[in-house]
Amino acid sequence: MVEPRAKQKLIVIGNGMVGHHFLEQLAARPENALFEVTVFCAEPRPAYDRVHLSEYFAGRSADDLALGRIDQYRDWGYDLLLNDAAVSIDREKRTVTSASGVEKTYDRLILATGSYPFVPPIPGHEHGKCFVYRTLEDLDAIRAASENATTGVVVGGGLLGLEAANALKELGLEAHVVEFAPGLMGIQLDEGGSGLLKDKIEDLGVTVHTSTATELIEEVDSGRLRMQFKDDRELVTDLIVFSAGIRPEDKLAQAAGLQLGERGGIVIDESCRTSDGNIFAIGECALYENFIYGLVAPGYTMARNVVSLLCGEEASFTGADMSTKLKLLGVEVGSIGDAHGRAEGAAAITFVDEQSGIYKRIITDGDGRKLLGAVLVGDTGDYDQLLQYHLNDIDLPEHPEQLILPAADGDAPTLGAGALPATATICSCHNVSKGQIVDVVQGGCCSLGEVKDVTRASTGCGGCSALLKNVVDEELAALGMEVNNHLCAHFEFTRQELFHIVQVEEIRTFEDLLQKHGSGRGCEICKPTVASILASLWNDHIHHRPHVGLQDTNDTFMANMQKNGSYSVVPRVPGGEITPDKLIVLGQVAKKYDLYTKITGGQRVDLFGARLEQLPEIWRELIEAGFETGHAYGKSLRTVKSCVGSTWCRFGVQDSVAMALHIENRYKGLRSPHKIKMAVSGCTRECAEAQSKDVGVIATENGWNLFVCGNGGMRPRHADLFATDLDDETLVRYIDRFLMFYVRTADKLQRTSVWLENLEGGLDYLREVIIDDKLGLGEELEVQMANVVGTYQCEWKTAINDPEMLKRFRQFVNTDEPDEKIVFVEERGQPRPAREEEVVKIAEPA
């Protein structure tokens, strides 16, 4: 008989992004059950997103940046030791000992210790006002030091250094960058590119000192720091941040006698094994062919490979592409492959537009047939295409310069998705190849959204969204499937096109639109969609005669149908603020009509179990007490949730309740492609959970930060920070424009989150439209919104005063009897719908 196999003991040292990715990948496999996993983490919290560390200063909290959660690790069955660094490895005994004295045995050990910031040994560098930029604790310390400061200096003009400079700027400091080398971002950019980057960054108010070596740092009388440079210049500052590169964290490996590189780094082979076969190293601590891969994507690749190896599969790491595209201080920068043209025989083509501040350079092989590298500053629009040429070794067109020249008449050669080989990586965040995308399309996924759901492509940074769409469209076309965005069989238009038609031709009824632009008699898809468009534009009462047959039942009866055909009633409670008297009325009404009562997530009270014929009477009582309809039944604004704000809370910095009331009262009644939720928080603690809403507003010392396109529910999406420190008026103007732009351009039943994901150009484009008014639509959107706001009516108030409308609220038009099929039983002191077997029991008297 075979003994059950003992679990293999796995220890992971380090819980940064790569260490976390390793665990996440392992946990997703069935083989996870075969391992007993211990994780040592030196920091006080599980892994977080260091790539977006700077956003910590822009309002994102430690929780927002978190990648791993303690309970998640528990669910995976992993033992996570936080705040307990591993201090020694005994390779003979195969044990790891931690700072607190915990000793654990391993069969396999994974080193994911990452790197530490390099601090040049300048005399004075250990002063208390000198910082590094690596962990949340570092950022907290920088923030604290910035409070009474006016000036900050970053030493190091690389990628991270410029991020740090941006952070200092956001903290309100006058920022300087001191770089030893002659140019910024020397690794990624050539001279021309880095020169332009310097100009652009200086335009933004950051002073750049290149070719500048610091000799000495000393405190001067005022408690400030004086930096003495080699050329006798000097600079006085309040604080210094070192960001002069990273060094692999290899001390533990060194002490354990593992082979290191000459300049540090734990030497690994193609299977990420160190010189000890039982020990693997992944991420920035690992040295492969004398190179440290200081980006997260290659680290993730290493992590995935080791998981595969541990599960008995084959995998090898043979280096990774280090191309990058990013935005530094608002300046677009891209670097691909051999950016410096170091390869033998390399030839370069350069395009410079000094007027617009754009620099583009491509490096080709001697024959001009292959793309070896590229540098883009000021405009990275060509990045994706160039990267595909480079990564897939695709032959360049006859005149490769056309790839970077501005298109005279918009007919620049574009690389069709068809030209890419199946192995081409489309999404590098989630490592999705063109072949995988083609497979899922052939397997039956017929829309971009479905492909994203299944493959996760384009759900990371989103940079590949346009390319992904091309691949999907082309594959659908290849399969002979028409890429059909028609609303339904009755209208050969998208919702967006129909909206435009209705607006321009001032069409007022469904019948009219169907006659002029549709066919047939309409269906349950186009009728409510058109009703919503008509409401967004003209805002007639939804019971206005021509619109009656168009509404879903919830809109028709202005209540939410529940499973047994009864309805729930939700009066509006703006901002969640309610007087005791009104609260009592809700209780009285619920009691009188025997309604099940529940508090909603949107800070309102939901009353369940109303029969159709009871709705008008219930509303008559609610309206008399001063309530209005809550539109819980409509594709429209639901609630604006708020925290109590500065009026009561000792942490609040603005009156969040007043703002919530203002925007709820402004946008109530707005009909939209889908429901809309909003929230306002009075401080950065974010008790109103605004970042999970379509529109989230968070108070700052200086005004309001606006977040957009968040979502809870089935597919949660964290809202994006859209604009910061807005005054009341600007805030409302942006929300006006944002909402109307969404209403005009979204697909049917598309939430803002999915809308944004499918919006070409993404968040940047949305900012251009809303903030920079790139399309010149701003005023029109505001006027449209003003019309909706100005024509608001409480639909229930109108209905209860209109005998014709009230006729609809009859269960039977030929008798006043109630529907005997609707039966309630009591549970926990309240009614609930009877289940099928319970109904039978009631029907048969004992």
Binding site: R808, N814, D819
Partner: protein, 131 residues
């Protein structure tokens, strides 16, 4: 009217023309409302009035067997492949108005009844159409 008389004729009056809502549905209760006689069981029936269609009036069982609720009258009238249907408001299955057939589930068909105007009175057949 609050009570429906059961007549021996195949037609029974159920409501007035003015009770109907154009391009939408209403619900009537038919059968032995006083529960005294054996003639016909009580049931609720959805009436759809589509003024511009060839057949203006449809009567179909109001009970949605998939949802287990009497809600068919509150569905949207939807044309599918040239046929008029009602989409149930709860789980959105389509039921063909002319014969009650559920388009999503061949095994489900709702009873339908002949319906007509007798002057301003709406009358429907006492017995459902045979399938």
């Amino acid at each position: 009217m609050t009570e429906v008389a059961i007549t021996p004729t195949p037609w029974q009056p159920v409501c007035q023309r003015s009770d109907l809502v154009a391009d939408s549905g209403v619900c009537v209760l038919v059968g032995d409302v006083s529960a005294a006689g054996p003639l016909a069981p009580r049931r609720s029936i959805a009436l759809f009035f589509i003024p511009h269609a060839e057949q203006q009036l449809y009567a179909i069982d109001n009970w949605d067997p998939i949802a287990g609720a009497g809600v068919i009258a509150r569905g949207i009238i939807a044309e599918v492949d040239g046929e008029l249907t009602v989409a149930s408001p709860l789980y959105k299955q389509h039921f063909r108005l002319r014969d009650g057939q559920c388009l999503e589930d061949p095994g489900i068909r709702l009873d339908t009844f002949a319906a007509a105007f007798d002057g301003d009175t709406v009358v429907i057949a006492s017995m459902p159409d045979s399938p």
